[in-house]
Subunit: 359 residues, 3 copies
């Protein structure tokens, strides 16, 4: 038997006599498979590969809500990343990543919420406030060759710095052991979140951040700031500022990220756009990364990025796409848009075609 569904498939749940009148509930199994065939050239090395996150990152998850009455809702969300090309699932991504072998299955999100007129209190592993801004104001949504996160997520100048290893500008993607409070949804367009993550005795795991934004009609702007106890000696301070305007014929995004660790500073800028074209959409981006305050090598670790993407929706849930993007490293900068080989001081260029299916 088949029925009509949109994006995600909500599972029918059964009534039972024992249920109280206000215990209304949903349980949803949901996910996404994205597989693409790519060619990436880093410096002089070309790699052909199958990848699993071209348009969106592949995933599978379980989520549900319960209506507790009086406007109060309980909700849980468990979501695992999937490597559709090899069958992998889970594993850590980003800051505080739970990448120990058996402890990171639901690596994308693992939360429990109580929400109501007061807003939402959310506990567990979740996106940081930083990514809630930096991922939102990028036409590529932090996926694909042309997405702005390529300027900071992987081998950024900060990753190469011995004092803040693995901590790039907005690569504080997710945080464990976090308590978040979200403002209520009906504040005349204003929205906000504060987020605190317990260090649990580990230097570098403590997290404190907040975001504040305004969305109304075609306009959306937001700002976020966080501090991470990278080491006891100093903190990693990350600022994100983004805005988008929907002109109808095109939506335009602007994004500014800056991370500071002592005197070291790494800043990225990105402009991107999405243009609806019938059942399809065209996207373009241009970004820049600038390192300051360190050694000559660090300061010379600048980079530029551009990307182009076209996707065609076969349905609301299934799309085919083609994309390209190129990142040009200066000096000691060694970032890439994917693939193997060394792109230090050189170009990293990718081409790919793929399919994305949401369920």
């Amino acid at each position: 038997m088949k029925k009509l569904v949109p994006h995600a498939i909500a599972l029918a749940v059964l009534a039972t006599a024992a249920a109280s009148a206000n215990a209304q509930s949903t349980l949803t199994v949901f996910g996404l498979m994205d597989l693409s065939v790519n060619s990436v050239k880093n410096g002089s090395t070309t790699t052909k590969s199958m990848d699993t996150a071209g348009l969106n990152t592949s995933r599978i998850g379980f989520r549900g809500t319960e209506d507790l009455g009086g406007g109060l809702l309980a909700g849980f969300w468990l979501e695992a990343g999937v490597s559709g090309d090899t069958g992998g699932a889970g594993g850590g991504t980003g800051y505080n990543s739970s990448n120990a072998s058996t402890t990171g299955f639901f690596n994308r999100r693992s939360t429990l919420s109580l929400s109501g007129g007061f807003g939402e209190v959310r506990l567990g592993r979740d996106y940081t406030v930083n990514f809630n801004v930096s991922g939102k104001f990028d036409a590529f949504g932090a996926n694909g060759f042309g997405n702005g996160a390529n300027l900071y997520a992987n081998k950024s100048p900060f990753d190469k710095s011995s004092t803040a290893t693995t901590m790039g500008a907005a690569s504080a993607l997710r945080v464990n052991n976090a308590v978040s409070y979200f403002l209520p949804k009906d504040l005349g367009g204003f929205y906000g979140q504060v987020q605190v993550g317990a260090p649990e005795g580990v230097a570098g795991n403590g997290y404190k951040g907040g975001l504040f934004g305004y969305a109304a009609g075609p306009v959306d702007v937001a700002f976020s700031y966080s501090q991470i106890d990278v080491f006891t000696s100093d903190k990693l301070k990350t600022t994100n500022l983004g805005g988008s305007y929907n002109f109808g014929v095109a939506k335009v995004y602007a994004l500014y990220n800056q991370s500071k660790y002592g005197a070291l500073k790494y800043t990225t800028y990105e402009l991107s756009t999405s243009v609806p074209l019938g059942q399809g959409e065209f996207r373009a981006s241009y970004g820049k990364g600038n390192a300051e305050g360190g050694t000559a090598a660090f300061n010379n670790s600048d980079a530029t990025l551009w990307g182009l993407e076209y996707l065609y929706n076969l349905s609301k849930r299934t799309a085919v796409y083609a994309q390209t993007g190129s990142l040009k490293n200066k000096g000691a900068s060694a970032m890439s848009v994917g693939g193997l080989g060394d792109a230090t001081g050189a170009k990293s260029t990718g081409y790919g075609v793929g399919v994305r299916h949401m369920f």
Copy 2:
């Protein structure tokens, strides 16, 4: 669309023409998320943390039954522990724990059953008969700062003993490769189980145990006994005896566990109670651990424990709670109620508040 549901959500299953008349079936996706914010002081070290098992251990699972006709049922059960605070899932807990990196996802239970008028034959990984008694006759259900398992599950005197490492009194929580037989349910209140786990060539993995009990009206009493081939030279022998009586205004539990390995003997006693208070419940416990038959240090590894907990049910599935508990170690005893730091010969005290949601 939302429908009324109780504790677990049974998924609607579809009829098809090919199905024979007696092949009636259910498939259920179920789980639980429990997240709490805690402060634990061990000796002089205080740790603030988010944890995931205050009231019940977080989990997700899949189970189902098939009616084979003639009163015969087939059933499977696959259940993974979840670390809601970090997104972890699976990994080993307890005896025979399958904690190798990729081999313990459904670490809580992985069974296949045939049941009917004759009782039930159950194959796979499951709770031991020991835990089927020791977990049942504790008002805290083996979770939280005040639960009696804190006296044996972690760093118990047996865990510290070189001859029976990692084998505490009732910490034989789960067993792999087990065949269990359960008595039929209609024996006038009597119930029982025998359980054998294949060693598969590994010294220490062989398990043999049984339990027998009686439950009628307000009374429930049970006894269990097991032998584990810890090493070829001797066996770890564990005895559990528990009882509960429901007075209506309160339910009272008593529990006695004893493990012996050669001359070494470790015994715990626990009294606990749960008191219904409108939509809420109050729980209290007091327990004691006593080591004998070893070195002076071993014999001095005694401990006492008390706990208090209040939970308020927002619905049948969602509760908020507050709890505290304290474990006092004597001599070389180094047990704790959680947290970091060393509690050898000192106190381990925890405070926490949390939310638990069943789905």
Copy 3:
């Protein structure tokens, strides 16, 4: 509530107003639990064990399809192996196996497909064309003591060869990063598949293969061939040829597999049959492995295998079974039908009884 279902349980999916008219979809949670109690004697070592793949390999998965209109379908399939005896899940099996700790959960299959009148394009991790032949033309379906894969899947002469380690004849079971094209289903009984797996810069991971077959009425025959870049110096070339004929009173299968690596050659032959007996089925097999082209020890690594199995269907989804099988190694051959201990130049014989339940 229970409803009639066959083999797998399709979950009811909900209609929503936002769904377009042609976005019809299914999402299915499916799986299988198989647990058996076995005794295996390898040489002089006898092991009693519980195992989880006697009749079929235990598993759990999620799959779905979406009708895109115009005869086009999108489909995904995520399937994890399960060790029902210990609760394990995932981990690598076979060639290109993704056995790194966190990257192989959906180790059995992880694919995304677009299909229509043109056939099917399938991306991701899947069975190789080799196994699509060698698993199909074996009455035991590559499970159990008597299945022909015991002659090549584990410790085959190729596995012991330093030049083609871990690459047995048809042990190229699954391949990562693969693009497959399947012929349409309505070609008068002819069917076929070509499959290419990207090496992604790793010598030994590149895969190219194809299969072609014909099935009509009682007849089914197929041929497959593949090349694996084991090392840059040479390729592992595998050929499979199989056929079956259904006489009604019995179905008879014949299978030939050959792997070549340079001058080394390992060939297996298998004849097997399944005989329906009321609600049950009887199966028997006889097979032979022959090594050539290497050292005297390699060339002497021959083996013979026979197996017997009886299964009784309690329903369409649940069966009980008993099986036995024996593999006789010559010379340096060290293959086994399971269990512990060394069977080099000796016999490996197993006996078992089990239950298999599909959901």
